[in-house]
C-alpha cells in the first residue's frame, strides 16, 4: 500500500507516492533525485545522510519519508545561494576539509547546525559536536580547521 507524501526540498515542492517504509534519505536520493545526500551506513552512525528538517539537522536515514509530510527540508544542494558558496562550504574548500568527498555533505550540514547554535565554538566543542559524523580520509584535522574558518568568517559578517 503506497501513500502520498508531500514536502518542500530546497524550496521546491515535492510530492510522490511512496511505500510507507521508505526512508527519508532514499526519498531524497531516489524520488527527488538529489544525490548529494549520501548513505554510508545502516546503523545511523556515519552521518553522511545529514539534512535539515524544519531547521534541525537530522540523519535522514532515521526517519521515514511519510513522517516528513509538509516538512521543509534543506539538503547540501540547497546551501549555496545564487551560485555563492556558504561560508562552511568555502571553509571546507579553503582548508582542504575533504578528500574523497563522500562524508562532506553530511559534515557541512552538521557544521551548519553546530555554528547556528554556537557561533564561536572551541576546538573541543567542534570535535564533540562532530560525534555524529564519520570521516575516513582526513583524520578530522582539516575538518575542524574548516569549521573554525567558517565560524570566523560568519562572525565577521
Amino acid at each position: 500500500m503506497k501513500k502520498t507524501v508531500s514536502m518542500t526540498i530546497n524550496g521546491a515542492p515535492q510530492s510522490h507516492e511512496v511505500e510507507p517504509r521508505l526512508l527519508l534519505v532514499h526519498y531524497i536520493r531516489e524520488q527527488a533525485g538529489l544525490t548529494g545526500t549520501h548513505v554510508g551506513c545502516d546503523t545511523s552512525q556515519c552521518g553522511a545522510c545529514t539534512v535539515h528538517l524544519n531547521g534541525m539537522a537530522v540523519k535522514s536515514c532515521t526517519l521515514l519519508a511519510v513522517q516528513c509530510e509538509g516538512a521543509q527540508v534543506l539538503t547540501i544542494e540547497g546551501l549555496a545561494k545564487d551560485g555563492k558558496l556558504h561560508p562552511i562550504q568555502e571553509g571546507f574548500w579553503e582548508k582542504h576539509g575533504l578528500q574523497c568527498g563522500f562524508c562532506t555533505p553530511g559534515m557541512i550540514m552538521s557544521a551548519h547546525q553546530m555554528l547556528s547554535r554556537n557561533p564561536r565554538p572551541t576546538e573541543q566543542q567542534i570535535r564533540h559536536d562532530l560525534e555524529g559524523n564519520l570521516c575516513r580520509c582526513t583524520g578530522y584535522h582539516n575538518i575542524v580547521k574548516a569549521i573554525q574558518y567558517a565560524a570566523e568568517k560568519m562572525a565577521g559578517k
Binding site: T35, G40, D42, L85, H96, Q99, F102
Partner: protein, 786 residues
C-alpha cells in the same frame, strides 16, 4: 614571463566545488532507464555445505525480475588470484558459491527486482538448506590439530610457506649475542571502511553486444581484465569499466569482487541494467579485510645497543579464499620491509599463509608495510628496554647513514635515497625530548602515567618495477600510462591510468602538466577512471600515482615538447636542436625574441600548412612508465600519551610527524593524506578490531555500532613537518605519501602506552587495540607481579 612554480604549491583542489555542493557523481547516484536492483543471498554460517537452494517462493514475490544461483552461471570461472607464490594452494573462489559457503557473507544467489526493497524482500525468501559445519576463524588455530579442513587443495589450511633472508647467519648472530629479546606480536584484523560502500551498475546492450560497468574501483582496467579474461570469458574490448567519483578505497576497492562480476554476468541474461550497492553490514562482511598476523619475533642486540639479528615467524590469516593480491601482502610487501631504517647484520623471516572461515584478507592502506613497521618498532623498543637504553638512543645508534643512491638491505630491497637521522633529529627538536622526559618523571612522582613512543619508519611504494615483481610472482605489470592530448586551441587533456578516490589527482596532476608546459592550470583537464577514454592503466594503490602515473605524464610532456620544437623550429627557420622550451614558448637558444608560443605550435600541428617535411600532424603522445625501482619514503613519528591509571583509558596529548616523501607537488594535499593516515594507524593501536566469535564464526564487530571507527573528539591536531630527500628513481623526485601515516603511527602509539606503563614493569603488550580494558589489565598484571 616568470611565473611561480606550480610544483610545490598548496593549490586548492579543483575537484572540491562539486563535492561541497553535493554534485559528486558516485556509482550509487547513477540511475538508468529500465534499471533493476540487486540483493545478494549470503551465508549466515561461517562454514556450511549447501544441500539445496530453493528459489521458488522468492521468484513469485512482487517485483522480482530474476534470481540466479551459482549453478546457473555455467561456463563462469573462479575469481583469480593475481600473485602466485611457489606451491601456493589456490582453491576455487566462485562468484556465487554453489557447493559450500566458507565465511559469513559468502554470496550464494542474486535476486534482481524492480526496486531495492523488492529485491531485499525476495532475498529473504530464498531458502537455503545448509549443513552447518564446524569452523575455524582464529589465525593461530588454523593449522592446529583437529581444526576443520576448509579446502581440499590446502591440507592443514596452509596456503603457502615462504621465507626470506639468511637463516644460518641469523642463527649465528643469535648464538653469539649478549642479549636476545623474544615477543609475541599480534597485528589484529581490520576493516577498511571507506565511507562510500562498494557499488556497481552493470548494463549490457543487446544491439551492440557491449557492456558498461560503473564500479567503485581503484583500478578500472584491472577490474576489466580480470573479469573478462579470467572469470566471464567475454571480450575485453566489449566491456567499458567506469570508476566515477569513488568515496575512498584504502585498498579495499582494488580487488575484483563477486558482486560486480555477478551483476556483469546477469545483466546480459536479463538485458536490463542492474544496480547493486553494498550495505555497511555487507561491507563489513565482504570488503577484503586487512592485517591479521600472529608473529613471534626475536631480536639480538649487543650491550652497547648495536642490533645484531632479527628472526621473525609470522602466521598470516588470508581468510576463506585468496583475494586478488592476497599472497603478496604478508610476503613481499611485509617481510622485505623488516630491515627498516637500521643496519642489520642478519635477518630471517618465515611466513605461513593460512585459510580460515573469515572474510578474505588483502591490501589495506599500507598493506604489509604497517605490519612490518609495527613489529620492528615495537621490537626496537623492547630491545632498548632489555639493555636499559633510551629508545631514541638505540635508534640513532643503528640508523643507516645518509645515502643518495642505493642501499642494499638484508631482505632483497635496495633503498633509493635516505637521511633517516635528519628526520629523527627534526622530530626530537619539535618535541623538546629532554624536557618531555623531565615532565614525565615529575608526572610519575604524582602518580600520573605519561609516555612517549617513537616510530622511525620506512615504506616501499611507487609500486612497482614490473620485471622485479614478475620474478616474485606478480601476474601483472605494474607500470602506468599517461596520455597527453593537446587540442588545436592549446588546451590540454591528460588521460591517466591512475585513479583518484580522494587523492586529488585532478589538481596535482594538472599542477605537473601546467608547470611543465608553462600554461594555466585552467587549460588542463585530468581524465581518469574510464577504460573507454584512458589508455590501459594499472590504477591507484601502493602510493604510486604521483611517482609512477605522474612520471608517465612527464614522459608524454617531454615527447610533446620534442615534437613542438620541430614545429616551432620550422616556423622560425631554425634548427630543432637549437630550440628550448621556456615559460610556455618554444625559443631559439640565445635569441629570446625568436619564440613561438605553445598555443601557436598546437594550432600548427592541426593546421599543418607550413610544416616540417615528413612530420605527422597532431599533437598527442602516450607513454607507459615502468619504474626502475620502488621509492622509499621514510620519517620519524612520535606520540605522547597519558594513561588513566584507574580506567586504562589512553589520551593522546600530542602527535608529531616528520615525513620525507621526496619532492612534494602539493604540500596541502600531502599533509591531508598524512593526517588521514595517522588517524587510521592510531585507530588500529587504540580502537579498531574485526572480531570473530570463535565458536560460531560470526563477525561480531560487523557494523559501525560494534567496530570503533575514530571520531573527531578521539583525535588531536597533528603536528606535521617534512624533510625532502628527492628520489633518484623518477624525474619528479617524488616518492609517495598516501600510506606513510598509517605505516608509522600504530607503533608510535603503542610504544607510548608501553612507555607510560614502563614504571610498573610493563615492557610489552601482545595485542591491539589498546582498549581501556586491555591497558588496565596489563597494568594490574604488572603491579601484581611486582
Amino acid at each position: 614571463m616568470a611565473t611561480a612554480r606550480l610544483l610545490g604549491a598548496s593549490i586548492k583542489r579543483r575537484e572540491d566545488p562539486r563535492f561541497i555542493t553535493g554534485k559528486g557523481n558516485y556509482t550509487d547516484d547513477l540511475k538508468l532507464a529500465g534499471m533493476t536492483h540487486a540483493a545478494f543471498v549470503r551465508s549466515p554460517h561461517a562454514n556450511a555445505k549447501i544441500r539445496k537452494i530453493d528459489t521458488s517462493k522468492a521468484s513469485k514475490a512482487p517485483g522480482v525480475v530474476a534470481i540466479f544461483t551459482g549453478k546457473d552461471m555455467t561456463g563462469v570461472n573462479s575469481l583469480p588470484c593475481g600473485w602466485l607464490l611457489p606451491e601456493l594452494k589456490i582453491p576455487a573462489h566462485m562468484p556465487l558459491a554453489s557447493d559450500a559457503a566458507r565465511y559469513v557473507g559468502d554470496p550464494v544467489a542474486i535476486v534482481i527486482a524492480e526496486s531495492q526493497s523488492a529485491a531485499s524482500d525476495a532475498a529473504d525468501l530464498v531458502a537455503v538448506d545448509w549443513e552447518v559445519l564446524r569452523s575455524v576463524t582464529a589465525t593461530e588455530q588454523a593449522t592446529a590439530k583437529g581444526s576443520v579442513q576448509i579446502h581440499e587443495v590446502a591440507p592443514d589450511n596452509v596456503a603457502f610457506k615462504w621465507q626470506i633472508g639468511d637463516a644460518a647467519a641469523t642463527d649465528a648472530a643469535f648464538k653469539s649475542a649478549a642479549v636476545t629479546v623474544k615477543k609475541r606480536i599480534v597485528n589484529q584484523r581490520l576493516v577498511a571502511n571507506p565511507m562510500e560502500p562498494r557499488a556497481c551498475v552493470a548494463r549490457y546492450e543487446d544491439a551492440t553486444g557491449e557492456w558498461t560497468l560503473w564500479v567503485t574501483s581503484q583500478n578500472p582496467h584491472v577490474h576489466r581484465l580480470l573479469m573478462t579474461a579470467f572469470v566471464l570469458g567475454i571480450p575485453e574490448h566489449k566491456v567499458r569499466v567506469i570508476a566515477p567519483d569513488v568515496g575512498g578505497g584504502f585498498g579495499s576497492k582494488i580487488f575484483l569482487y563477486n558482486e560486480e562480476t555477478v551483476c556483469t554476468w546477469a545483466t546480459r541474461q536479463i538485458k536490463r541494467p542492474i544496480r547493486w550497492t553494498s550495505s555497511r553490514r555487507e561491507a563489513f562482511q565482504t570488503d577484503a579485510h586487512g592485517r591479521d598476523h600472529v608473529t613471534d619475533a626475536e631480536v639480538a642486540v649487543a650491550k652497547d645497543g648495536k642490533l645484531l639479528g632479527l628472526r621473525v615467524k609470522t602466521t598470516a590469516n588470508l581468510g576463506a579464499y585468496l583475494s586478488t593480491f592476497a599472497p603478496a601482502v604478508p610476503t613481499y610487501l611485509y617481510a622485505t620491509l623488516l630491515n627498516g631504517v637500521y643496519e642489520w647484520p642478519a635477518i630471517h623471516a618465515e611466513v605461513t599463509g593460512v585459510f580460515t572461515n573469515t572474510t578474505p584478507v588483502d591490501a589495506y592502506r599500507g598493506a604489509g608495510r604497517p605490519e612490518a613497521c609495527y613489529l620492528l618498532e615495537r621490537m626496537i623498543d623492547a630491545a632498548a628496554a632489555a639493555i636499559n637504553m633510551d629508545p631514541a638512543e638505540i635508534r640513532r645508534k643503528n640508523f643507516i647513514p645518509k645515502f643518495d643512491n642505493g642501499y642494499q638491505t638484508k631482505v632483497a630491497l635496495s633503498y633509493d635515497s635516505g637521511n633517516y637521522g635528519a628526520a629523527f633529529d627534526k622530530l626530537l627538536g619539535m618535541l623538546d625530548y629532554k624536557k618531555f622526559r623531565s615532565d614525565q618523571a615529575a608526572a610519575r612522582a604524582q602518580g600520573r602515567l605519561m609516555g612517549i613512543g617513537f616510530s622511525t619508519y620506512i615504506e616501499a611504494c611507487s609500486i612497482a618495477p614490473s620485471k622485479v615483481v614478475g620474478s616474485l610472482g606478480a601476474q601483472a605489470g605494474l607500470w602506468e600510462s599517461g596520455k597527453v592530448q593537446v587540442h588545436p586551441t592549446g588546451k590540454v587533456s591528460v588521460f591517466t591510468g591512475s585513479h583518484s578516490h580522494g587523492q586529488g589527482h585532478e589538481t596535482t596532476m594538472a599542477q605537473i602538466v601546467a608547470d611543465h608546459l608553462g600554461i594555466p592550470m585552467d587549460d588542463v583537464e585530468i581524465v581518469h577512471g574510464d577504460t573507454g577514454r584512458v589508455p590501459f592503466g594499472m590504477g591507484t594503490y601502493g602510493s604510486r600515482s604521483a611517482s609512477v602515473g605522474g612520471t608517465a605524464i612527464v614522459m608524454s610532456l617531454d615527447k610533446i615538447k620534442e615534437k613542438g620544437k620541430k614545429i616551432a623550429a620550422h616556423l622560425l627557420e631554425a634548427n630543432p636542436k637549437d630550440m628550448e622550451y621556456v615559460g610556455g614558448q618554444f625559443v631559439v637558444k640565445g635569441s629570446p625574441q625568436k619564440a613561438i608560443p605553445f598555443g601557436q605550435v598546437a594550432l600548427t600541428a592541426y593546421v599543418p600548412h607550413n610544416y616540417p617535411e615528413g612530420l605527422e600532424p597532431g599533437l598527442e603522445e602516450t607513454s607507459f612508465y615502468d619504474p626502475a625501482n620502488f621509492c622509499f619514503p621514510f620519517g620519524a613519528h612520535a606520540c605522547v600519551v597519558e594513561v588513566d591509571p584507574d580506567t586504562g583509558h589512553v589520551k593522546i596529548l600530542r602527535y608529531l610527524a616528520v615525513d620525507d616523501v621526496g619532492n612534494v607537488i602539493n604540500p596541502m594535499i600531502v599533509d591531508g593524506m598524512v593526517h588521514g593516515g595517522i588517524a587510521q594507524g592510531v585507530a588500529q593501536a587504540l580502537w579498531e578490531e574485526a572480531v570473530y566469535d570463535r565458536d560460531s564464526g560470526q563477525l561480531v564487530s560487523g557494523s559501525m555500532m560494534d567496530y570503533t571507527l575514530p571520531k573527531a573528539d578521539m583525535l588531536p591536531f597533528y603536528e606535521t613537518a617534512r624533510t625532502e630527500t628527492p628520489t633518484p628513481v623518477n624525474p619528479l623526485g617524488v616518492k609517495g605519501a598516501g600510506e606513510t601515516g598509517t605505516i608509522a603511527s600504530t607503533p608510535a602509539v603503542v610504544n607510548a602506552v608501553v612507555d607510560a606503563l614502563s614504571g610498573l614493569g610493563v615492557d610489552h603488550i601482545d595485542a591491539m587495540p589498546l582498549t581501556p580494558e586491555r591497558v588496565w589489565k596489563t597494568a594490574q598484571a604488572a603491579k601484581s607481579k611486582k
